[in-house]
Amino acid sequence: MDATSIDETALWQRGLSGDGSAFGSIFDLHRARVYRHSYRLLVDASEAEDATAIAFLELWRCRSSVRVVDGSVLPWLLVTATNSARNLNRGRSRYRALLDSLPHESHHRSAEDEALNDVVADTQLAGALAQLSSIDLQLVTLVMIEGYTVSSAAPILGLSAGATRTRLHRARAALRRYLGHPTLALYLQSSLGDAS
């Protein structure tokens, strides 16, 4: 466990006791990763902001049952953001008053944004991910995109390690079919960059 995870463990303990500032710090720690993942799935800046916000609000609502991996709630947040992206209207209705009060900037795309979008938010990739089942998408998110081990991802998803490996193999094959790309790992790397 590194210093960051030790710090996050302490933050999470404070957060569990209802310390709002601790949740604010957890948001600071993970907002970029959760937002980037949401954007990857939704390819829309405002919708990704809402999906990210919902994931953090759910972190508080479900705090008693959140599974922490190596001292971090990030895997849980990523899985929840995945579900939020797929059920955005449901999540929005749960927190409508709060979300409605937040300022969404107009996201005018510059030429740089457009170029960036071609690389980072590949709609082809988003379309391929959208065809996966929820559990497979969560698995691909944690293991293939975010670099968690199978043994770390399995408990989050409620699967055995064996079942996780089998699902991952099938999900990887399905993505390869959808993307038509011979070297999926290279494609993901070129599309998504370093996960850190």
């Binding site: 601790a22 980037r36 929840t80 008053a97 709060l98």
Partner: protein, 258 residues
């Protein structure tokens, strides 16, 4: 490579909202549902326990608690956190009966932890739900008759409160030797008084309820999940149980609830 970023204005506003959201009084969701939805098991206890029941001579359910107001009611409309003054307590008072109603989205908190949350959808829309909380709090939670209601500054709400006395009652027994009545502090009777989602009142068998909960929990382990968190769905949702008369044999309908 530059990754997409959440806008600074959104991040700043949401961070503040998240901190405020977490710092707000914790919702006692079980209690919220118990009183607000008016459809779950304890709701019939509420029905038979209200001052109205006592005042109009309606019998209190066996096992229920009869709450009788012993002072005039204090009413008012307030904004934000306020103190409602009830004045000196009568000698026979052992509690305060309170009904709070939201007028705007937000939350209302009573001493002792009871909190009702009122989302915009609770107040308007086709699926609007009752936006009130009913509770009886001990005198010690309102020192010198000062009842403090916690609410965000922008929230508007109304209150109806009076000193009261509460008296418990025993379960009744039908011809088959089965106990029936409201859930009490000692637990549920054999036949539990309920109000169904369609407004019908009657009794469900405790054994039926226990089987239904076990079934739903088992299903949730393999399929039904919350669409956002992936957690098992609410174990109480979607059940339908036979609704009986107090004899426990005459079926008068189906009990369903949210």
């Amino acid at each position: 490579m530059t990754a997409p970023q959440m806008s600074d204005s959104f991040a700043k506003a949401f961070r503040q909202a998240l901190v405020t959201h977490v710092d707000a009084p914790t919702y006692d969701r079980r209690r919220h549902r118990r009183w607000v939805l008016g459809r779950v098991i304890a709701a019939f206890t509420l029905l038979a326990s209200t001052a109205t029941a006592a005042a109009t001579g309606v019998l209190v359910l066996p096992g229920g608690t009869q709450v009788t107001p012993v002072s005039s009611f204090v009413t008012g409309t307030y904004a934000g956190t306020e103190t409602v003054h009830l004045g000196p307590a009568p000698d026979d008072a052992n509690g305060i009966v309170v009904s709070l109603h939201c007028l705007t989205p937000g939350y209302l908190g009573l001493p002792g932890g009871t909190v009702v949350s009122c989302a915009a959808d609770d107040l308007t829309g086709s699926d609007a739900q009752p936006d009130f909380v009913y509770d009886v709090i001990p005198l010690t939670d309102a020192s010198d008759g000062a009842l403090i209601v916690t609410a965000p500054p922008e929230s508007n709400w109304t209150v109806l409160a009076a000193y009261s006395t509460s008296t418990g009652s025993e379960w009744a027994t039908n011809g088959n030797g089965e106990s029936y009545g409201a859930i009490s502090e000692t637990g549920p009777p054999d036949l539990i008084a309920v109000r169904s989602a369609d407004g019908a009142t009657g009794y469900i068998r405790r054994s039926d309820l226990e089987r239904a909960v076990v079934t739903v929990v088992a299903n949730s382990a393999t399929g039904a999940t919350d669409g956002i968190t992936g957690a098992p769905a609410d174990a109480a949702s979607g059940s339908s149980l036979p609704l009986y008369d107090s004899d426990g044999t005459t079926q008068i309908g189906e009990f369903t609830h949210d």
